[in-house]
Subunit: 190 residues, 2 copies
Amino acid sequence: MTKKLGPRERILETASRLFHSQGYNNTGINQILAEANVAKASLYQHFGSKDDLGVIYLKQGREEWFAGIEQWTGSKKAPGQKLSACFDFLEYALQKDNYLGCKFINMLSEIGSSSPLMSKEIIEHKGKLRQYMKGFVEKALEGNGDLDIDFVGDSIYLLYEGAIIESKIYRDTWPVKKARKMAEMLLKRV
Amino acid sequence: MTKKLGPRERILETASRLFHSQGYNNTGINQILAEANVAKASLYQHFGSKDDLGVIYLKQGREEWFAGIEQWTGSKKAPGQKLSACFDFLEYALQKDNYLGCKFINMLSEIGSSSPLMSKEIIEHKGKLRQYMKGFVEKALEGNGDLDIDFVGDSIYLLYEGAIIESKIYRDTWPVKKARKMAEMLLKRV
DNA sequence: AATTTTATAGACAGACTTGTCTATTTAAAA
DNA sequence: TTTTAAATAGACAAGTCTGTCTATAAAATT
């Protein structure tokens, strides 16, 4: 029943899996080609270079991430519930991928400053996520006059990011659970 | 006036600089040897392999980190002040290294599960840091009977780790400043 | 002063890397 | 059916990587 995927899709699917699980630098073009059953010329036809493939990998990762988080927040009505759903989605996603951590943070550690295109993609993704979460915090706290909503929003964002990296280190969900609980506390009792 | 360093020290110093700034996988043995002015045989005499060198690099990084943080917290008396000093040290350290991020998190992203020895070192370092900060939180909050001190301690730890990674992404100190402020709020008004 | 340890320089093996190129085959469009 | 486009297989270049080895020179020790 699965539609037959073209070479481009097979490359992207395989690269995504390998980049995430083994790392970008530890994954050679040849391994991608072998596991995707694609000829080398096809890869360089569809993607100009490994660096370009990395950029597309990140672009696709961003789309999937926001599609996923939208799915989890979409079913909630109150902004506070939507924010909690962000943490629930995170817990689900990290567990599903066996605690491989964040594609974007992992890549940033690997490339350093050697790929401006990938760096740009990573920074944009995180900036978008930051705004996304702050949007819920603003709605949840609107009316609370003198409160520094920006400060609370960024604190929750930092808890979220901290939870991502610590879940990878400890291979456990406790960081997400605790970050979520603290985020809820900050919304309610500030 | 600087003491002449032996080959072992020169290797470690150079490797530390290059691993941190370029990444582990992007730094070849030969580059380390060239910049440290050391013969290849000397490297394999003092360190058995590149992996071993990585482990020693992390061990030394841990020692330097805790020596540094001790220096900043040591001059403070109240546990709340000591905790704030942890954030001040972080801000100083990240700026000093031009926002290269955390040696341990960077390495973890690079090696994946390919080096159990390095993984162990990284997990131990972070576990020790977690306990170190929780110690201050416990002392600062002792007496506050029913309060879940463990929960507050881990929340502050997550803010700290989030600040590390976000400072790297945005190349700015705002994550540390905001995390510090939130940590202080949690200690005072919880 | 003679001997042992330590460091140096660099060739070399073997395997890996990205990217290019040729030649052939399959698939789609005219 | 003929023609045009897309995919395949794989050799190849030029470079990288870690790690081993030999031979020589400098230091430290006896």
